[in-house]
């Protein structure tokens, strides 16, 4: 589909545009965090601990969103925390999508025993609740950025695999595939040059819809203390850290939670907009 036509369809969907704006907002925040954040996210003054947001009594403009139990600026930590969430979301989905797409293409194209074996592995992995599987992997690998990415990738690849396999099963019966085969193209050539471009729309939609889910899972693992370790600011970790002060300092928990919510909602809206724009048949007519 031409980009212009795609953009015209996408732009008509107001919710999708809001999602795109939110996603870009957080992306810019993550990239330019060192320039945007008013303070060092890991340094705090104990004399300023548990200060409320600036609009509340006892708050100050030095700490717009208040401070945490160690006197660290909440706003700066929320800004820096976006880096971890977006990094993990993008890396996990990218690696998992590439892996899942290749396996799904092979599974759908070759069929037979290859397909049967791959799909049994997929069925087995799908049987594990997402967080439980990630937790089990993290329990042996230990916490940390690299390990959380690995743990999430192990489970995440099955979704794009299933979707692309389904698309490949349909696409491999098309005339252009038959024509390529008749011209002597190798299987790999057909997979990469003929089939892959034609399932790309599904790949983009699946990937964008999964980013929000991965961000939620990372935040959940960080909340449980199994994500990137302190003092690195992570949104889930910040919410966990604020639990003990929930009665007297609700802001420690509230602001990182709002950030997670807005990012995930933005990415979800963007993904749904992409899905609808790639397939106009899905767009319901408005009265």
């Amino acid at each position: 589909m031409e980009f212009k036509r795609f953009w015209k369809l996408y732009r008509k969907n107001r919710a999708a545009v809001i999602g795109l704006i939110l996603t870009i907002f957080f992306l810019v925040m993550a990239i330019f965090a060192p320039f945007i954040a008013p303070q060092d996210p890991n340094t705090g003054k104990l004399t300023e601990r548990l200060s409320p947001p600036f609009w509340m009594e006892g708050g100050s403009r030095r700490h717009l969103f208040g401070t945490d139990s160690l006197g660290r600026d909440i706003l700066s930590r929320v800004i820096y925390g976006s880096r971890i969430s977006i990094l993990i979301g993008v890396v996990v989905v990218s690696v998992a999508t590439i892996t899942g797409v290749m396996i799904g293409l092979v599974s759908g194209y070759f069929g037979g025993k290859v397909d049967a074996i791959i799909q049994r592995i997929v069925d087995t992995l799908l049987a594990f609740p997402y967080l439980i599987f990630a937790l089990a992997i993290m329990s042996v690998l230990g916490p940390g950025l690299k390990n959380i990415i690995l743990a999430l990738v192990y489970k995440e690849w099955v979704t794009p695999c299933r979707v692309i396999r389904g698309d490949t099963l349909v696409a491999k019966e098309e005339n252009y595939v038959e024509a390529a085969r008749a011209m002597g193209a190798s299987n790999w050539h057909i997979l990469i040059r003929s089939l892959l471009p034609n399932v790309m729309a599904s790949v983009i939609v699946v990937a964008s819809l999964r980013i929000g889910w991965v961000v939620l899972m990372e935040a959940s693992l960080s909340f449980l203390g199994l994500g990137v370790q302190p003092p690195t600011a992570t949104w889930g970790g910040m919410v966990a850290g604020g639990r003990d002060y929930i009665f007297q300092a609700w802001w420690i928990t509230a602001f990182p939670g709002i950030a997670i919510f807005l990012l995930v909602m933005g990415v979800n809206l963007m993904g749904e907009g992409l899905r609808d724009a790639f397939d106009p048949k899905l767009t319901k007519g408005k009265k």
């Binding site: 992997i137 929000g212 203390g225 919410v239 928990t253 009265k287």
Partner: protein, 336 residues
């Protein structure tokens, strides 16, 4: 739905069951480092002889495939080994906590369905109205909100500010409820202890709403989408043309067909609930399997982690199986 279909479907779960046990076994055994040293804790002072002795006792000096079959044999007999920290059979620890998790999960499913299905139906019937927009936005918020944050927000509002619901725990044991099934709601009804019933429900509300929010949002969207599809069908138009009231057409004709995909989605997403209850039990101090496995992870109690993960996965397989049977029962066209 024939008996042969049920048997065929059951046989299809066998390779998945074997795959699950294999993956759980491999996760614990193919990790970097010596499993016994990992269990003892890195940096702990133990002799090589002791490590070898423990390795022999646990059968870890046997070939991997022997270890796996030993593990599989144990699973089939309900023996998941012993907890390193609590020195009790893993199965017993799981059995003690299972009722709490099941009760929370079932209650949250009920709450989410009570909210989501009517909202989904109203949203579809009054499409593009204010009610529809509120429902759609709420559903989007539900799938975007981290459950641990929602739980803490609910605690702030209902427990701290309004003081109408408890913060943590499963019950106020001052009601003297006798444990019969360990399902507090059932035990309260059986013993006629209405005070305990009310107390148990009050303790269940916030965790169940938190746990059910994602499923409610998903269910609402599926119900709305499914109703819209059904309402555009010819037989609905015919029913309306024949003079049947909107209410009868929606409740009697449309809803029955629209709920088929909803039932499937709900049963298939039990897995999300099972994963989610780990977080919710942690937030609300709920004494279920989720908290058990989290504590086991923190203390590196691998047999316990292994056992709980296996139970979760097997429960999911069973729910999938039930979903397929339900779908086949509701939709006679299904033939696999």
């Amino acid at each position: 739905m024939t008996f042969s279909y049920i048997v065929r479907r059951m046989l299809q779960t066998v390779p998945v069951f074997i795959g699950i046990t294999l993956i759980v076994f491999l996760i614990m055994h193919l990790t970097p480092g010596d499993p016994v040293e990992i269990m003892m804790g890195r940096g702990s002072v133990v002799t090589t002889e002791l490590i070898e002795q423990i390795r022999h006792e646990l059968g870890l000096d046997r070939p991997l495939y022997v270890q796996y079959f030993r593990f599989l044999g144990g699973v089939l007999h309900g023996d998941f080994g012993r907890s390193i920290l609590q020195r009790a059979p893993v199965m017993q620890l799981i059995a003690d906590r299972l009722p709490a998790t099941f009760e929370l999960t079932i209650f949250s499913i009920i709450i989410s369905l009570i909210i989501a299905i009517p909202v989904g139906i109203i949203s579809s019937v009054k499409r593009y109205s204010l009610l529809d927009h509120i429902g759609t936005v709420s559903a989007l918020a539900g799938v975007s909100m981290p459950s641990f944050w929602l739980g803490l927000l609910l605690i702030i509002v209902f427990s701290v500010k309004l003081k109408i619901l408890p913060v943590t725990g499963r019950a106020n044991y001052g009601y003297g409820l006798a444990p019969i099934t360990n399902f507090l709601l059932i035990d309260a009804v059986i013993t006629g202890n209405w005070g305990a019933l009310g107390d148990a429900i009050r303790h269940l509300l916030l965790p169940a709403i938190t746990l059910g929010s994602y499923m409610a949002a998903l269910t609402m969207r599926v119900t709305r989408s499914s109703m819209l599809e059904v309402l555009s069908r010819d037989y609905i138009r015919t029913a309306l043309a024949k003079g049947l009231s909107h209410k009868v057409v929606i409740l009697k004709h449309a809803m029955r067909n629209a709920l088929v995909p909803t039932v499937t989605v709900v049963t298939l997403n039990i897995g999300i609930l099972l994963g989610g209850n780990m977080i919710v039990e942690s937030v609300f101090g709920w004494p279920g399997l989720g908290r058990l496995v989290i504590n086991a992870v923190y203390t590196r109690d691998y047999p316990l982690v292994q056992g709980v993960v296996l139970i979760y996965a097997l429960t999911y397989v069973v729910m999938n199986f039930i979903a397929d049977l339900l779908y086949a029962a509701l939709n006679p066209k299904v033939r696999f």
